[in-house]
């Protein structure tokens, strides 16, 4: 696969390490979250057959975390964002 890195252009996916669903960026608020919120965050996944927002780390490159929108059925990638930009938009809750 080829991931079009927002800063570095198209790179072979072999340069990256995969983590999982980008919902891992939405860590529950430690002040307010319930045990169930933590369970859902750490363990439950939408696991969609279709577009999936997911985290890839450019280990063999600039060490950016990227949020890649990729179809799990066709493997087509439709969007690649810097995870830090996405995280800033989410608002820092951690």
């Amino acid at each position: 696969m080829i991931i079009n890195h927002p800063l570095l252009g198209p790179r072979d996916s072999a340069e990256f390490v995969y983590l999982g669903d980008a919902s891992l960026m939405e860590r529950p608020d430690p002040e307010t979250a319930s045990a169930e919120d933590w369970h859902a965050y750490a363990y439950l996944r939408d696991n969609p057959a279709g577009p999936h927002r997911e985290l890839w780390w450019h280990e063999g490159g600039d060490r950016s975390w990227l949020v890649v929108t990729r179809n799990t059925v066709t493997h087509e990638i439709t969007k690649v964002e810097m995870a830090r930009d996405v995280a800033r938009k989410l608002g820092s809750k951690a």
Partner: protein, 416 residues
Amino acid sequence: MRYSGFKVIKEALTGHKGWTPAWRDPEPQSHYDIVIIGGGGHGLATAHYLASVYGKHKVAVIEKGWIGGGNVGRNTTIIRSNYLLDGNEPFYEMSLKLWEGLEQDLNYNAMISQRGIMNLIHSDAQRDAFVRRGNAMMLNGADAEYLDLAAIRREYPFLNFDDARFPIKGGLAQRRGGTVRHDAVAWGYARAADSRGVDIIQNCEVTGFRIENGKCLGVETSKGFIGAGKVGCAVAGNSGRLMSKAGMRLPIESHVLQAFVSEGLKPVLPGVITFGAGHFYVSQSDKGGLVFGGDLDGYNSYAQRGNLPVVEDVCEGGMAIMPMIGRARLLRMWGGIMDMSMDGSPIIDRTDIDGLYFNGGWCYGGFKATPASGYAFAHLLANDTPHETATAYRFDRFRTGHMIDEKGQGNQPNLH
């Protein structure tokens, strides 16, 4: 129809006119006591044990395609019970015992072949871990054998002993491990279940669950509504997709695992070998093909196909440990979709919806579990209590912190 030596000879001499279909091809009835979704190994085994052990005969297995077309038909056929943790080992040992009697039970030759499995050891830490595992196996009544380097050299002289980046230091063998003709498992269970009245309904896709007041009443399918007292789901890599129709999110991700077979070769390997310092394991089929595999591709996928980096990675592992396979040719590669759970262990449990039961999360280890999975799921469906070997396979273990994490990788499915 019972297969027997007499029958085989008689048919050979009379033009094979007497063979009948291995299973019927019925239309669905309007209601069953139990409907199993998924005509793969686990679903068919569940039906067989429901009928043969638990006395349930008004049972249907519904399958969206053809039976045996999922992971039971696309795996590397290995059976073993070399697990470490208490939640797992008794279950897989029961599975191995069921394999050992399966052909007589089913009257079908699934070519269960206990030629052994050998896990190679390449470091002191790995040896410590394998010794612990071997001990856990033996303390659970399974067989295990630690082999030192000299013994490995004697048994596997063709391995790379002299030019290895990660030299072999020993191995943990399970002599009762081995391989099975995988398709025959699905067919054998289907035929046996069918003979006890189970309806196997192919080309019938579940489009939804009918759930009223928190109770599951049956399934909507491409062949209409089928009512059910209980519904059991056993759909391997498609668990996420199916259970979302019941509004459930699962502690599971779907990942692709590739597997490979070489051209047919005269016998070179005695049993299953796993390389402990790279992603490679291999056995040789009765037809002579080297059947091998390695790691997941690593990203969520429902595509049943993988990519080149993992193909290369696996072949590198192969060449590193047995450099005599360089001129053997890879014939075919394929991908299966694995239910990768959050701790690498399966789930056989009730759901929060009354009457809806779940069996999944098998990661890449579902094939060897087929008999025990069917048995335990049948037990759960029949009695509403977990089978004694499967009590740990609960949904809520993540909530309570009772994970069964053989590899110690935590809540990242692609590392299990």
